[in-house]
């Protein structure tokens, strides 16, 4: 390395950004507390990389989840200055020189430090029958696959892009106030199957949609769609399901089944 490049190298590592993490160690702590760390700043460093720096160099006891580093595994969701973000998709340059406050995803119980208990979310994903339910005795296996046109795929494709990161649940005050609400991601996934031309399970899923805890707990805050890192737009899915639910109700008044 030449002597000329040294000063710039030095300048980069001179810059420091403060990262405050809300710690919680279940075996020691009664409640969470903030802990401040100083991380060398670089504009291309993600929040996830900053956490890895802290774990490698400053405090090995800090816990957080991560895997792919490229916004597809959905593991590293956390609150950055009270906004739900993927750690790998948020960068220090967007906050520097201000302090960054990190906290576990809101509305979920904290398991440890930045790790939350997502059990309730997973349960809801399972409840909405997230699989294709074909029409009974519709087609024999030997007759081949179910065909779908690009137009038919377009109807649900957006809602199938969810990576189950849970940011929308952390953004939803209705879920925070009452966790019985089925919630944005699960309802978007429900819409994904109901809108699929190969599926015939709509009637079964509408029972979930029509409940108070289904779409009717949603008051259209709309923040879920803002924080979604994959552009799924769960708020739109829920509003369209409200239309379907209303139709279901009206039809049911004249044709009870």
């Amino acid at each position: 390395m030449s002597a000329q490049t040294m000063p710039t190298q030095q300048a980069v590592s001179d810059k420091v950004i403060e990262v405050e993490i809300l710690r919680y160690r279940p075996e020691q702590d009664e409640k969470p507390f903030p802990q401040l760390f100083e991380v060398p700043y670089s504009p291309d460093m993600s929040i996830l990389e900053a956490l890895q720096y802290i774990k490698d160099h400053l405090d090995s006891t800090v816990s957080f989840r991560w895997s792919c580093r490229m916004a597809i595994c959905g593991s590293c969701g956390l609150m950055v200055n009270n906004v739900p973000k993927l750690g790998c998709k948020a960068f220090l340059r967007d906050y520097y020189p201000q302090k960054i406050k990190l906290e576990a995803l809101a509305n979920f119980p904290i398991e440890r430090d930045l790790v939350v208990d997502m059990g309730d979310f997973i349960k809801k994903l399972e409840e909405i029958k997230p699989y294709i339910i074909p029409a009974t005795d519709d087609k024999c296996l030997s007759e081949g696959t179910y065909k779908q046109t690009p137009e038919q795929m377009e109807k649900y494709k957006q809602y199938s892009m969810c990576i189950n990161c849970g940011l929308c649940y952390a953004a939803c005050p209705q879920y925070g106030l009452d966790s019985k609400f089925t919630g944005p991601a699960a309802l978007a996934l429900l819409a994904r199957y109901n809108r699929d031309s190969r599926d015939a399970g709509s009637a079964e899923r509408m029972k979930i949609v029509n409940q108070e805890e289904g779409v009717w707990s949603c008051t259209f805050v709309g923040y879920c769609s803002v924080v979604c890192p994959k552009g799924v737009d769960p708020a739109a899915a829920i509003q369209l399901l409200k239309v379907e639910s209303s139709k279901d109700y009206l039809i049911g008044m004249f044709k009870p089944d």
Partner: protein, 129 residues
């Protein structure tokens, strides 16, 4: 033995003040209170009309009080805020496809504004005549 002890954070009543997005949402929802009061004043006017000309004129002159004018300007402002924010959300509740492609959100929003303007002009003309 499990050391698990998940910590459930409390959601305080001021949750909607901590994030500008939530505050704007609460103003949009809260506008319904002022609009309800406005509708009640209007309904009261209809009731006064049924009581005869004198009662209705008393209601009309009460509306000219400065407090009433300030209140109505405030309601107009908040109703416009509700309208603008609601129109911007409208595309999320529309499921229209043209030649297999979803209809562009800006056409849906524009459609709302156009119908809003037409209805407003129609009502104004109706009052003027």
């Amino acid at each position: 033995m499990s050391k698990r002890k998940p910590y459930q954070r409390e959601m305080n009543n001021d949750w909607w003040l901590k994030n500008a997005f939530y505050s704007k949402y609460m103003i949009r929802e809260g506008s319904s209170i002022l609009i309800t009061v406005y509708s009640l004043i209007l309904a009261w006017g209809v009731f006064r009309l049924s009581q005869g000309e004198e009662a209705f004129n008393a209601w009309l002159s009460a509306l000219q009080h400065p407090i009433s004018i300030i209140f109505h300007l405030l309601v107009l402002l908040i109703a416009l805020y509700h309208t603008i924010t609601w129109f911007s959300l409208a595309p999320k509740a529309v499921d229209l496809y043209i030649k297999g492609k979803p209809l562009d959100a800006k056409f849906i929003v524009a459609g709302h504004y156009i119908s809003f303007i037409i209805v407003t002009i129609f009502c104004l003309v109706l009052i003027m005549l």
